[in-house]
Amino acid sequence: MSNLSRDDVAHVAMLARIQLEDSELDRLAGQLDQIVDWVGQVNEVAAADVPPMSHPLPLVNVTRPDEVRPSLTAEQALANAPDPEDGRFGVPRILDEE
């Protein structure tokens, strides 16, 4: 059974912002199809009335007073940036040129 075509994998990879090369697509597509087929067995379990479990703990929001506290300096925050500029993160263009 084929769940996932090579085109599907390319599409999902783009959704995940991974620009796969052709050779990688060839390698990964078959493996992913096999894995998707296998994990699909969760549907063999009759669980229509079972509540989903997203987490082992009952989660509650944790908040703190909205007060200024010591935090990273601009220099520390930028120390790992690939392209820092004038105390800011340098990023490529976000809008199309056309």
Partner: protein, 537 residues
């Protein structure tokens, strides 16, 4: 072993347990500096072959050691593990020390802050020897998916040390460190412990802070201790555990009394009288190596001799645990790893011709992520995408509920559950690298604990007769009952050592200083060497 110290020429300090090291320092028989130096010497000699450490912080570790020695000389009251060296999996942020998570993406990432667990190690005044190798972003069961080359098993350099925390397990098993930190999302502490003959504990979910630990799957990840004895693991567990306001999933309750439980354990007949031990019917049998099963059955006999009652329990939904896990983990991972966009930090690849931010992100992620990370991000993105969500991620969450209910029912019949930790002993490097499905099956016994959030421990149960390699037995307990693992684990550990003429770790053969070429391995060890020197400089 040839490492010696000037003050005690007959004794190899690296062979001591953490408890013995702490006692020896307290008695004035050795110093933290001598201990740290002995480990640094052994790391220098063996790490080129093992590739257990990605980074060695000799200066930092020695500085901490000297401070501890000075404080002790001044009569200061010190924490129990003060001066005992420790290794940290490269998934935990260490201020000023490169933290890579085994990925090219973070090859040059120097965290501006410490993870809470690292802060706690510093407060416990434990010298940090360095950062240990791991599968990229903790995705794997062999450490072969590290971007910096595989770690090798000290028991046989052609074999894997387990994963994702193979660097920590190899360091502890090879006497390069008495203690190490691991992280366990589906077995990454317990399976490496099993295949290296060491002790590994995944505490109750929320028992140890995840703040500053690079996230894989946030509802499954848990930090825990790697050690050579249950008593050593308990001491490190108490250092790491406890509430942290910086982690919203941290449980606001005292750490379970794990050290106390070990102190009360005994190898004598009847010491576990009244205890019910459940054998999970669904873990074992087909797919489990005969020697693994044999050592497990022998451990059950020892538990009986200790007075425990062995009962069979059934967890019928465990047969679907792997499938549910390999939907839930990639889904959460695809979301967690979305942060690696090469904008604020991380390795950026810029294609030609004035690319857009989106094109830079896609090229950077293709370049810097390895195959396993890409597979899981794509799988998770698919499982969460509209039209497939209900059939995949949604259904997996329902199966997760059923698995948690199975365990709840099982703990109605038994105080602890036991199984083999991993289906086989350590396999050969390269054997499963191109077969992701075969690799995933290593975690079949360990995954249910992560799905349900309960604590689990692996201790050595002996060597498999067919290959002479270590085998582990897994213990599971209900949430926040971690002390049960330690009570039973310590008694069984002592009993097995008595039956087998000593602990498994003591049977480690001499570790060669050079590693053989391994066919099928994509990386050669030592690629991380440049990385190490760069950080030291």
């Amino acid at each position: 072993m040839s490492e010696t110290t000037p003050t005690d020429a007959g004794r190899d300090l690296t062979r001591m347990t953490a408890v013995q090291m702490a006692d020896a320092m307290a008695a004035g028989e050795t110093t933290s500096e001598e201990l740290v130096q002995a480990h640094l010497d052994r790391i220098e000699r063996l790490n080129p072959a093992l590739n257990a450490f990605l980074l060695v912080d000799a200066d930092g570790a020695l500085a901490t050691a000297r401070e501890v020695d000075a404080a002790r000389a001044a009569g200061e009251d010190l924490p129990r593990l003060a001066g005992v060296p420790v290794a940290v999996k490269d998934i935990a942020c260490t201020q000023g020390l490169t933290t890579t998570a085994g990925s090219r993406m973070l090859e040059h990432f120097v965290p501006p802050y410490d993870a809470t667990i690292v802060t706690r190690l510093r407060e416990a005044r434990m010298p940090i020897l360095g950062k240990t190798n791991m599968d990229e972003f903790a995705m794997g069961s062999s450490t072969e998916h590290s971007a910096f080359g595989p770690t090798r098993n000290p028991w046989d350099l052609e074999r894997i040390p387990g994963g994702s925390g193979g660097g920590s397990s190899a360091a502890v098993a090879g006497f390069l460190a008495p203690l190490a930190i691991g992280s366990d999302t589906g077995g990454s502490i317990r399976q490496p412990a099993a295949v290296t003959g060491t002790v590994g504990v995944k505490p109750t979910y929320g028992g140890v802070s995840r703040y500053g630990v690079i996230a894989l799957a946030s509802s499954l990840d848990q930090i825990g201790p790697c050690a050579r004895t249950v008593a050593d693991a308990a001491l490190l567990h108490e250092v790491l555990g406890g509430h942290d306001p910086m982690d919203s999933t941290s449980i606001d309750a005292p750490v379970p009394p794990v050290v106390e439980s070990v102190a009360g354990a005994s190898a004598e007949d009847g010491s576990l009288a009244g205890l019910k031990v459940g054998v999970v019917k669904e873990i074992g049998g087909e797919g489990f190596q005969p020697g693994v099963q044999q050592r497990f059955d022998e451990a059950l006999e020892e538990l009986r001799a200790l007075g425990a009652e062995i009962v069979e329990v059934s967890c019928p939904h465990f047969t679907h645990a792997m499938a549910a896990y390999y939907l839930i983990l990639p889904s959460e991972a695809s979301s967690n790893l979305a942060r690696y966009d090469a904008m604020r930090y991380g390795r950026r690849t810029t294609p030609e011709d004035s690319p857009s931010a989106e094109q830079v992100m896609a090229a950077s992620r293709d370049d810097a992520f390895g195959d396993e990370v890409k597979r899981r991000i794509i799988l998770g993105t698919y499982a969460l995408s509209s039209g497939y969500y209900d059939a995949y991620y949604g259904q997996a969450q329902k199966v997760r509920t059923l698995i948690a209910r199975d365990l709840e029912a099982a703990f109605g019949q038994a105080d602890v559950l036991v199984s083999p930790t991993a289906p086989t002993t350590a396999f050969r490097i390269g054997d499963k690298l191109d077969d992701p499905m075969a690799m995933y099956l290593n975690d079949i016994a360990t995954i249910p604990a992560n799905l349900a959030g309960i604590p689990g421990m692996s201790i050595p149960s002996g060597l498999a007769p067919e290959d002479g390699l270590p085998v582990g037995i897994q213990l599971l307990a209900p949430a926040m009952e971690d002390q049960r693992l330690y009570a039973v684990g310590a008694a069984l550990e002592a009993r097995l050592a008595r039956a087998q003429g000593g602990p498994v770790v003591d049977r480690l053969p001499e570790v060669p200083t050079t590693a053989p070429e391994v066919p099928g391995a994509r990386h050669t060890p030592g690629t991380a060497g440049t990385h190490t020197e760069e950080v030291r400089a």
